[in-house]
């Protein structure tokens, strides 16, 4: 997994609540058996005017020029600012894969759906929860000034807008550790293989049917 220590980037504002995973990456693109290549179809139904199908040349498709990610001022954005309950819906990890593939490294919102939130960490995308008020203030700042940038300092757990006060955020210690060091979680867990085996033995005595 790619490390995440400190990131400075252009911010794109997606002013919608309850953005679901069907919106982030529509199901017709889930048929790929790879982890990469989903970026061109991120928010497909909003970004393009026609219906997307896998394997298309996306550069030739008619764009929805009004959609925020298509506005020239947000080209190259790597931080997404959005509203509450982002990533609700299915468990598809294709959602963070698509965001990552497009170039987003962090998402700022008042709240996230559980599974999506979890999936982000497995892919080096950092979801950050900020208060509704702080998110609102950032929306105004970003929309008010072209080229507005934010720096995210994971080590010190701070979101630092180019203007205004730094905002502190919470993150689980284990996740922070994995992101900072780009660790492979499976490898870490397998270090505890003996503990897992001991657990299995205890369980098998109590509930043998589980292991049959």
């Amino acid at each position: 997994m790619e490390k995440f220590v400190r990131h400075d980037g252009l911010v794109a504002p997606l002013d919608r609540a309850n953005v679901d995973t069907d919106q982030i990456i529509p199901k017709q693109f889930l048929k790929s058996i790879k982890r990469t290549g989903f970026g061109p179809n991120l928010f497909d139904e909003w970004r393009y005017l026609d219906e997307g199908v896998p394997g298309q040349d996306n550069s030739k498709r008619p764009k929805n020029e009004g959609f925020v990610l298509n506005l020239p001022r947000y080209h190259g954005a790597s931080i997404l600012l959005t509203r509450r309950n982002f990533g609700c819906g299915s468990s598809r990890e294709h959602a963070p894969w698509a965001l990552m593939d497009f170039g987003f490294r962090a998402i700022l919102a008042p709240s996230f759906a559980d599974i999506f939130y979890n999936n982000c960490f497995k892919n080096g995308v950092l979801p950050i929860v900020l208060s509704e008020d702080n998110v609102e203030a950032l929306f105004q700042a970003v929309e008010g000034k072209e080229g507005f940038r934010i720096t995210i300092d994971l080590e010190n757990q701070q979101v630092i807008p180019e203007a205004g006060e730094p905002l502190a955020f919470e993150i689980d210690e284990f996740r922070k550790h994995c992101l900072l060091n780009g660790l492979d979680e499976i490898g870490l867990t397998l270090n505890e293989a003996d503990t897992i085996r001991a657990y299995e033995q205890r369980r098998a005595e109590r509930e043998p049917w589980v292991f049959e």
Binding site: E45, C88, S91, R92, I115, N118, I186, I196, E212
Partner: protein, 472 residues
Amino acid sequence: MAGKTLYDKLWNAHLVTEREDGSALIYIDRQIIHEVTSPQAFEGLRMAGRKPWRINASVATIDHNVPTTPFKSAAEIEDETSRIQVQTLQDNTKEFGITEFGIGDVRQGIVHVMAPEQGAVVPGMTVVCGDSHTSTNGALACLAHGIGTSEVEHVLATQTLVAKKMKNMRVSVEGDLGPGVTAKDVVLHIIGVIGTAGGTGYALEFAGSAIRGLSMEGRMTICNMSIEAGARAGMVAVDDVTIDYVKGRPFAPKEADWDKAAAYWRTLVSDADAVFDEDITINAADIRPQVSWGTSPEMVISVDANLPDPATESDEVKRSGMLRAYEYMGLKPGMPVTDIKVDRVFIGSCTNSRIEDLRAAAEVAKGRHKADSVKQVLVVPGSGLVKQQAEKEGLDKIFVEAGFEWREPGCSMCLAMNPDRLEAGEHCASTSNRNFEGRQGNGGRTHLVSPAMAAAAAVAGHFVDIRELGQA
């Protein structure tokens, strides 16, 4: 000390180790695998040279992508990318030695219908699957939830999951359900009350006399939609209904194990003095048949109501969501639900494709015919076994006589990854669980309802209050 909730008990029983940073490893008893969210996980195993930790912990089947018209081999699947995924699952399960109920196997079906049906999920288990509706299995007093593909790989490799304990929420539905009110209406009503993010961060327990009065199928319908209320996991405590359901299923414990198992399972209830972080009580008598009108499952109202007015919504974020939904759905505030015309009807999905659901739809369809204005009515059983049972009862004939199409098992128009889909602008009465924009086809407009309400809409050409439907 306060007693324990059902979730506390399940969590404690599966705790392998707690780490200093507050995260924990929990043991996973059962993983269900399907073709869409597993290829990258198997690929990850291969690349790292890892093997599955415990092969018999996993069961696989195909559902999301499969056509619902008969086919005999992967080669017959027309859509190339679907074919590749179905084929890839076959190859992966073979390579790693995992049981798969594949093409032509009567046990094949939607993951969350197949697993309980086979007894592959029994009370007290932790169950995961790369699909958010894994919560369905919580109806059997399991800790069951969806996971992402990296976690599918993690569970395959280690049989554990890095997890953090959730908070406890109980939703009790007390009293008797009115006529025409089904499990689907109950859960839609609950989502309307607590909202689509109301359960975020919680494990939900559904309790109360109305829930206990439901069959296992009904409880599965309720737990299925926990995720639409924001909760990864939903569950119902063990009682006689649970134990009777599990008994005799192919994977269920047998002989000496059975008595021991059943005795243990009976302890899987929340203690009387358990404390919940949130405790909500709903009066069953308040629940009427439900229809969703918008593009989020919380945008739901009773069939006898008029569509809500965004002007009266004080929360600005919600109001703009409503306005966007009205535009997408092509509907107007204030119009009666029963004025909404439907173009297609879908009866199926892991929410409502079990035998009981098909019986309820057939009861309405019997002796009636779909309205001419309705282009298509799809009935898609949840598994090969459900299909077989329905045919034994003659339900297929009732449907066909009513002008409904009787299909092969799979997810079908629930998410339209296969050829079953809506055209832009079409309204669909659907027994599935998500009404997001484009869910059932680009530009399609989904209305979530119970199987009986869906069948009634098919017959009338618009939504009707099932309670006012006379005899055919």
